[in-house]
Symmetry: C2
Subunit: 191 residues, 2 copies
DNA sequence: AGAATCTGCGAGCTATCGCTCACATTGTCT
DNA sequence: AGACAATGTGAGCGATAGCTCGCAGATTCT
């Protein structure tokens, strides 16, 4: 089962979604197609399981960072969370990109939407706790903007500037931090 | 040809990318498969042409807005540009979403990357002209952040809050404007 | 009018897909 | 060792994909 998920990931990366046939996946995993269909009722559930596992790994990193950051001031906390998001995207950027770009949104994806809602709730919860330091009207909107912005920017950064050095990454984190912090606290200069 | 592009768009929206077969597209366009292959050498080029047309339409809206905004102060200009981006996404949000989520990145997509570089250049050029009002170290990074952020946020807004009223949209534009403006001018309060 | 050219047609080719099922192999219990 | 269950196998089924090509009707030229 683990071998099947790994094989699926590697085939998706190497061949793309439409060339990722169940036969090829089974072959790379070293089992027969028949066995594949004993563990997963169909191709969709196999892919869904892989997406879910990957998304949960990323969420885990964010949760860990969230705990480590509890005692910091808002700006430092944001910086660490954004750094953590970049680390999360470094788990398997190419695979994550294929999920984004090629894997069709399917029925069973409800499970993944649940994970995404967990992410949203996690961030919203954090902002709620700092409510008095944050100067935005609607917390839901603010959460939506923060999550979407940070997710996309860190994703694109990892994809496009794959070979970025530590310094370049730190500078990028600083930029996003400044933007988000400035957004949450518009009445205070960020510098 | 126009009929074929329209048919492709409608099939993509109604059936999704994998079910968008050349036979179905030709049938909906009211021509035969044979004719389809007189205009487009293969399916890829047909889809690429559609993506390119759509992307260019959106870029056109942005360019128009850019001209109308030339005389405004930075903050008002940003607000109008962001509003224009939402309008651009309203052209055909569902189709745009399918391009994002399902259409695989293919070879001929070079043409589309060119259009995206044009967008980047357009924004970079604008920021360059306002260089003295902008307090950001690296203009390329700033452009990258602005383009990516605004594109994603307006996209997600149009998709997720499809039925949003004028007021809700205005409030959202205000939030993004404040964030971007605050990012470009960190030393001044945005309120 | 007849020849020549062009345009559009769609049955059907080959390839590949997700998936099944009759069978082989391995493991467990008496 | 032999019986039975559980697990693994892979040739092959039906469906469907992208695409071809021999042909029919329309159009232009002589």
């Amino acid at each position: 089962m683990e071998a099947l998920l790994e094989a699926t990931a590697r085939i998706l990366v190497r061949e793309g979604y439409d060339r990722a046939s169940t036969n090829r996946i089974a072959a790379l995993a070293g089992v027969s197609v028949g066995s594949l269909y004993q563990y997963f009722p169909n191709k969709e559930s196999l892919v869904t399981a892989l997406v879910a596992r990957h998304t949960r790994e990323m969420l885990q990193l964010l949760q860990d960072a969230m705990e480590e950051v509890a005692t910091l001031d808002l700006e430092s906390a944001l910086r660490e969370l954004i750094r953590a998001m970049i680390e999360a995207h470094r788990i398997d950027p190419v695979l994550h990109r294929i999920f984004d770009e090629q894997v069709p949104r399917m029925g069973q994806l409800a499970e993944i939407e649940a994970i995404e809602r967990e992410t949203f709730a996690l961030v919203r919860n954090y902002l709620e706790a700092r409510r008095d330091e944050i100067a935005v009207a609607d917390l839901d909107t603010a959460t939506f903007i923060c999550v979407t912005t940070v997710e996309t920017l860190t994703h694109e950064f990892v994809i496009q500037r794959r070979e970025a050095g530590k310094g370049e990454q730190a500078a990028f984190v600083e930029e996003i931090t400044r933007m988000i912090f400035g957004y949450l606290r518009p009445d205070l200069p960020a510098v």
